[in-house]
């Protein structure tokens, strides 16, 4: 494998991790808002219990992703940052409000209503902003003026593909978080919350698949190249769909105790579903970072800097594995944490 392909594969892997963690994080914020008011529902408690210790880690993965883009592909920064300045800056602004308010609600209980709504609303807007970067890379939305790249807002904001991408991002986010929180509720043996999240997973699953397929239909004319590549990758996309179907069926299977749904295997299937989809999409996106102006090899740093960076990644994650294990034991497994009132 070429070094630049390796780099972009790592980048897609990080994107995959952040897409999963981010979906849980933002989705949990949204469910926390929806069920925060009705006292009898414990779904909000489950969502918030998951969110409290995890948001910092999720946030770091966002930073890892950004730093990896800049350090693996330094020649891409000028184009990327000129074009993405406004959407990314707005995302940062909202993320800051979300982060701080989410933490503050533990310490200023009186204002919990306002803070919960903030966390829920930003849980939809931020992912929408992030996912709107995807159509920009497809081509047709960037123009050059004296060699300086500009995002054509008028073009982008009136194009249906933007809104389909946003819809795709949100339905995916809510589907993933619903399936995961269903499993989390099962660990906590909170069956009310379990039923609530299962109910949502059931309708969100088919919707997210339908939206994903429709989105490809709305790609701009300039994106013919990626549609061709996607068609060539049909096998992997097919596998992704297969994992979805298995996962979806698992939501209906009865367990020995008569309760419907096999939460843990379903979560694994859904993760595989998105894993395959993201890698298939990523490889269809090659060789371009941004069509037609920037390819992966154009943006790539030199090999002498790249290999030390790889070592840093290996050592860094190596050190962190025991820490993540402890983290998982304490917050995702320990009944004393899961079942507290």
């Amino acid at each position: 494998m070429e070094a630049s392909t390796l780099a972009v594969t790592i980048l897609w892997s990080l994107l995959f991790i952040y897409a999963m963690l981010g979906s849980l994080d933002f989705g949990a914020g949204f469910w926390g808002m929806i069920y925060g008011k009705s006292e009898e529902k414990s779904a909000a408690q489950i969502a918030n219990r998951f969110l409290s210790p995890t948001w910092e880690v999720t946030n770091v993965f966002l930073v890892i992703f950004v730093v990896s883009v800049v350090t693996f592909f330094p020649y891409a920064t000028t184009l990327l940052s000129s074009v993405l300045l406004v959407p990314v800056a707005l995302g940062l602004l909202l993320l800051t409000i979300r982060t701080t308010f989410m933490v503050f609600q533990h310490y200023a209980g009186k204002f919990v209503g306002l803070l919960r709504v903030t966390s829920g609303v930003t849980g939809l807007i931020i992912p929408a902003l992030l996912v709107s970067i995807l159509p920009i890379t497809l081509g047709g939305f960037i123009s050059f003026e004296d060699d300086y790249p500009r995002l054509e807002y008028g073009e982008l904001l009136t194009h249906p593909t933007l809104y389909m991408h946003v819809l795709f991002g949100l339905s995916t986010e809510l589907f993933i978080s619903a399936v995961f929180l269903m499993d989390y509720a099962k660990e906590a043996e909170d069956w009310d919350a379990y039923d609530t999240f299962r109910k949502h997973a059931l309708w969100l699953g088919p919707v997210s698949i339908a939206v994903a397929m429709l989105t490809i239909g709305t790609f701009p004319e300039e994106a013919g190249w990626i549609v061709d590549n996607i068609e060539q990758n049909w096998l992997i996309f097919g596998l992704s769909l297969l994992f979805f179907l298995i996962g979806y069926v698992l939501l209906f299977l009865k367990k020995p105790d008569g309760r419907k749904g096999r939460a843990r295997p379903a979560v694994i299937m859904i993760v595989l579903q998105y894993g395959f989809a993201i890698y298939a999409y990523g490889s269809a996106h090659l060789p371009y970072l941004i069509y037609p102006d920037l390819t992966v090899s154009d943006g790539f740093t030199n090999a002498s800097t790249f290999y030390p960076m790889l070592i840093v990644y290996a050592v860094g994650f190596g050190i962190l594995i025991p820490a993540f294990y402890l983290f998982w034991r304490l917050f995702l497994k320990d009944r004393r944490y899961l079942k507290q009132q």
């Binding site: 409290s52 210790p53 995890t54 910092e56 880690v57 946030n59 770091v60 966002l62 930073v63 890892i64 950004v66 730093v67 800049v70 350090t71 693996f72 592909f73 330094p74 020649y75 920064t77 000028t78 990327l80 940052s81 000129s82 300045l85 406004v86 990314v88 800056a89 940062l92 602004l93 993320l95 800051t96 409000i97 982060t99 701080t100 989410m102 933490v103 503050f104 533990h106 310490y107 200023a108 740093t301 002498s304 800097t305 030390p308 960076m309 840093v312 990644y313 860094g316 994650f317 050190i319 962190l320 820490a323 993540f324 402890l326 983290f327 304490l330 917050f331 320990d334 004393r336 944490y337």
Partner: protein, 441 residues
Amino acid sequence: MDIVVMARALFGTSLGFHIIYATIGVGLPVMIIIAEVMYFIKKDSDYALLARRWTKAFAILLAVSIASGTIVGVMISLLFPDFMEIVGQVIALPFQMEIFAFLIEAVFMSIYLYAADRLPPTLRLVSIISVALGATASAILITDVHAWMNTPAGFRMLPNGEITDIDTWAAFFNPSFGVTAIHVTLSAYMTVAFLVASVAALRLMKSKITDQERAYHKKALMIALYFGALMSLGTAINGHETAQMLHEYNPRKLAAAEGLFETQRYAPLSVGGYTSLEDQRVKYAIEIPYGLSFLAGDRLDTEVIGLNEYPQELWPPLYVHILFNVMVGIGTVLIAVAFAALFWKLVLKKEFPGWILAILVVSGPLALLAIEAGWCFSCIGRQPWTITDVLRTGEAATKSKSVGFLFYLFMSLYITLLFVTGFVLRFYFKRNPVSRDLSSQ
């Protein structure tokens, strides 16, 4: 307004805002460790309570610190893309290592915060030590990039702008890395010590306070004073080394800091005043004969380079002299305050009267002011360069016209957040007064 100026203003404000929270985020876990260790040694539950209450404050401030750190980390790529293009090729390593340090801090902070009651004492201590190590390592690694901007190393730039001869480790261990990293770390520790002293002194000045509360706050104050005295002394010694590093590697900046125009031996040190371009000297300053030569090279006859050796367009703004003096001045005053207070307590064995407490109350905000002045000095003193003698700020900055509007947007965010953090801290600690925690022990 000029896009470059707006880009600098936006990034400068973001960094200035982040520095407040980041500094506390680096120092406060160390104070928490000290309290935990004191509890371990003395078995006095007041220390455990100190650790617990500081942890609450830390958690509130850390949220803003992480959020603003994310802003700064992303914004630097957005606003200075051509700078990041070089960074990505030459000095990407500390940036990446920093993330892992940050990740260690985040993971263990969650563990310490949400699982402390389920952990055995050793694992609890390991957690908070990991938080402190992660925070300090993170500060040191980011400082490395800053140091490299001041004294770039490990690459060559061809006339066409191409970067060659990259030596990643020479860039990592650039000439000013060591002193600057120590400077940032010690001054952060020192600042937090004085901030803790401020809060404790403020509480002790209240007339309605039980003996139990008084004892509690005194313990906080004494930890802060010992630690603050030690760290401020360390910062000063290191500050001297920093001046010598500047003398060797970045004499233009030292000349601007001291308002020295003519290269000379036996150069005097100007304390206070402002640098006047017409008069080619620092006006209204107290001059210490031979002071600057001695500082720069430990000898009275050290030759110190003056600004006139360089074309005027390469000078930093002359007001950096004031920023430099604010930093050094406050640092010096705080050493005196810490040692005088300790002398009062330990040698004279007297209680602190109101006026000493009042001085201690302002010591924390002063330390924070010195930190801000120091960062401003270091970054403005590097102008017109982003990477000294390699890349000008005007070339590094974005050309996007949206910067102006973003500046006002983020400015409002920062002002709001300053108020909201203050409000949440007040709200939480008013709702959970120390008297209640003490009586429930």
